[in-house]
Point group: C2
Chain length 197, copies 2
């Protein structure tokens, strides 16, 4: 199964904390796929950013706060804080996935943590390269983020996610089905537990 997420999506972050454990319960492996909602998908959908949408934005603020309370999370970043440019993170992720696939998830977890829990802005290639996990040199990652290949890989990945029908973060793709939103995890778990319906 695949887990599609945007690093700047709070519910994508929340899902990243649970998806591997949930899948493992049912003997499934999860491939992580970062994408860019703001830059690409909302444009295709003809929508403005969700936090700026009347009514919906307020709902998401409340849902975010409720989720944080429920799970006892401690975050230095709120949903109305300035948003980072996610391209350095996306380039780093997809370059790592292509060249050292076993390091892609550790890198993604480090990015999520640094952005949401520590609250650091990760727009610059340097800030992301500093998160290179053991086995990957920061200098090599920095050169990759700045290079042409990582941009190409990221664009192709975003395009591929959209062609699978992914339009939001998080989205889990499994058995030909899509499950959007962390609220769909209960249904996803039911799907995994009974093998679909």
């Amino acid at each position: 199964m695949q887990f599609h997420f945007d690093f700047i999506s709070p519910f994508g972050y929340f899902a990243s904390l649970r998806i591997d454990a949930l899948a493992a319960q049912y003997g499934r492996e999860v491939e992580w796929r970062s994408m860019l909602l703001g830059v690409s998908v909302l444009k295709v959908m003809g929508m403005k950013p969700l936090m700026e949408t009347p009514l919906k934005g307020d709902y998401l603020r409340r849902e975010f706060a409720r989720y944080v309370r429920r799970r006892g999370l401690v975050l230095r970043r709120g949903v109305d804080d300035p948003v980072m440019d996610p391209r350095s993170s996306g380039r780093a992720f997809h370059w790592t996935l292509a060249h050292q696939p076993q390091l892609a998830k550790p890198l993604a977890r480090a990015i999520f943590h640094r952005y949401w829990v520590v609250g650091e802005d990760l727009s610059s290639p340097e800030s992301v390269a500093a998160l290179a996990p053991p086995g990957l040199e920061s200098d090599a990652l920095l050169a990759a983020i700045r290079g042409e290949e990582s941009g190409r890989l990221l664009r192709a990945a975003v395009e591929q996610s959209m062609q699978q029908g992914v339009f939001g973060s998080p989205t889990v793709a499994v058995d030909g089905e899509l499950f959007f939103g962390v609220e769909s995890f209960a249904t996803l778990e039911e799907w995994l537990s009974c093998g679909g319906w």
Copy 2:
């Protein structure tokens, strides 16, 4: 607690089949509140109808089909069938709620069933008046749907739902919180079972 729905919303219909039983498990009563998403809310949000939104529309088609399979529902109406004008239903519901409140839920259930299960178009006042539950004369309901008061009640109700932050169907309001979507029922149940967090 309050259950806000639009008669033309498939997930509003699905929620209507479960909300009272769910609430009763935790000793709660549910007030039903019909609203008009297409006419009012989407305009405020600056959004087009969800089924016409690229990617999102396709997701909703799949989610609808999956839900129907999962619950073994048999419906004569699909999400891409022509949509009724929901104003006769909304007027009938809110007039009944104001004058014979104990009959509002039976009327709403009859409308939902006739529209989604039987597949009948209920745009006309006559088709809705024919669904008057025992205790309410069809002629009286027809006059009410055509009258000025029911239009005023419906507009006020839609406005009130939006002022509470409701932007989609179904939305459950309880303890100052909103839970949007039938997928949020698992979280709603957790909320009800532990009294919030």
